[in-house]
Amino acid sequence: MAQAFLLPFEEPLVRLRDRIDELSAVGTPASELAILEAHLEALTGEIYARLSAWEKVQLCRHPLRPTTLDYIGSLIEMFVELCGDRNFADDKAIVTGIGSFRGQSVAIAGHRKGRSAKENAERNFGMPRPEGYRKAKRLFELADLFSLPIVTFIDTAGAHPGLDAEERGQSEAIGSCIAALARVTVPVVSLVVGEGGSGGALALGVGNRVLLQRFATYSVITPEGCASILWRTSARAPDAADRLKVTSQDLFSLGAIDNIVDEPARGAHVDPESAIRSVGDAIAASLDSLRHLSPDALREHRYARFRAIGRFAGGAPSCDR
């Protein structure tokens, strides 16, 4: 079956796959097909082991990649969407709600990217405005009130940069959303399931556990934005992606994420079912690992987790002198 959208490095693999299927259809002997299949597997391994940071950025933005709604649809039963910030509007770039995850009530918030042009127009490509962050904050406070664990799905290029967003206090909204998540006394599991784009992503990312899929990325600024600042051209985004250390392996070694969630060899979009299952298992394991913590300890744990991030020298505290 032809894939509707191909990245440059996906092409040779898809061509070979089609060729094998053709040969199979015309009755080529199984022994010959097996050789080609083995070759395909080796080639896949080779290409995906060598992907550059920029290629991973493209992969995590793949238009066919499973979105927050796909994860909710498959992993959450009895999902009840909750809408609106009770102040101004319902921002469709973020979805929030409550539901049942493997028999346990949870609260869910995630960036909502679309697939079609129409969906993306409605959801602003998953780039929230202040009302989106205020809706998420509302959900976090509701979860805290009713002792529901929180699961967040992160997938955005960033918060919406616009006149209206500034008028309504984008900065304050993001900061307050971070504060609300930092304060809750329930378990918080955050998953980057696509692109983790700067503060607009972090607003949903203050988890006791922060997980990232193998080909997802997380960055302080988009590679395009970084390249525009450094070299006055977004054309050098591939260089910027490399410098910013945005891949799962880099993020893990910098201590920014707790675990890398397994993902199909060619990315989540090639085998969404398996990707979603891995994410579900990772959420379950994370919630399990936090089960022994009291409400206060959960907040302390989150504090300590983020408190420890950063690299510097000469750090002994000096306020007691």
């Binding site: 616009g162 971070i178 960055s219 910098l254 950063g310 510097f312 750090g315």
Partner: protein, 259 residues
């Protein structure tokens, strides 16, 4: 080297003796020019009352970040220029006799950007304030997160905001002073989470930079967009305070809050 005794105002263009620009404010048009970290300290704190905290924290280069200039070289030149190790000054001081934690961005150090050191110093400032039961006066002026430290810079947003929440729990005041310019990861973390927001006249304050917004929406932004006055109009800032009255106003607020 003899410094130029004259200064041209960036606001109205008048050329006057530099000494007439008291604390960087033009006597003709009241334009507030940027002033350095020492000048800020002299402006707000009682003479000789300041004791620095956490001033040995030194940035490293965790990403081995190189663009046209390597990050360590950028740091070295900023350190030489400012006499600071990173873009932050923090410690204990008095404002009209009232003890406070005083923490201020140094915009002159790589645009006041927040990497690991700035994030750590600010986090500690909130923690010290709780420990010593002091209010905090925090002056922001920053382009945002420091991209040369990548994800570590981004995470400082969560770290500083979480620390700020501890201060809230301790019921200690956080007066946030927004200076020109405050953007991105600093605006979207602690800077707009104060109990009281004071801003300098005409300071640029926002999440996304005006250039980025113009590119996104494809139109020119209105006059005064993202200026302090715009933020007051939209309910994000309590008061715009002239630099010459800032110390007195902070002292009054602290007094009224019982500090």
């Amino acid at each position: 080297m003899n410094p130029n005794p004259f200064k041209k105002c960036d606001g109205c263009g008048v050329i006057l003796m530099a000494t007439l620009f008291v604390h960087g404010v033009c006597p003709e048009c009241e334009h507030h020019h940027s002033i350095g970290h020492k000048a800020w300290l002299d402006l707000l704190l009682d003479e000789g009352s300041f004791a620095a905290w956490d001033d040995k924290l030194t940035p490293t280069d965790p990403l081995n970040f190189v663009d046209d200039v390597a990050y360590p070289a950028r740091l070295a030149s900023a350190q030489k220029k400012t006499g600071l190790l990173d873009a932050i000054v923090s410690g204990r001081g008095n404002i009209e006799g009232r003890a406070v934690v005083y923490t201020a961005s140094a915009f002159e150090f790589m645009g006041g950007s927040m990497g690991s050191v700035v994030g750590e110093v600010i986090t500690r400032a909130f923690e010290h304030a709780v420990t010593h039961s002091l209010p905090i006066v925090l002056l922001s002026a920053s382009g945002g997160a420091r991209m040369q430290e990548g994800i570590l810079s981004l995470m400082q947003m969560a770290k500083t905001v979480a620390a700020r929440e501890r201060l809230r729990d301790a019921k200690l005041p956080f007066i946030s002073v927004l200076r020109h310019a405050t953007f991105g990861g600093v605006a979207a973390s602690f800077a707009l989470q104060g109990d009281i927001h004071l801003a300098e006249p005409k300071a640029l304050i926002g999440f996304a930079g005006p250039r980025v917004i113009e590119q996104t929406i494809g139109q020119t932004l209105p006059e005064g967009f993202q200026r302090s006055e715009f933020l007051v109009e939209h309910g994000m800032v309590d008061r715009i305070v002239h630099r010459h009255r800032l110390k007195g106003e902070i002292a009054t607020i602290l007094r009224l809050l019982g500090r």
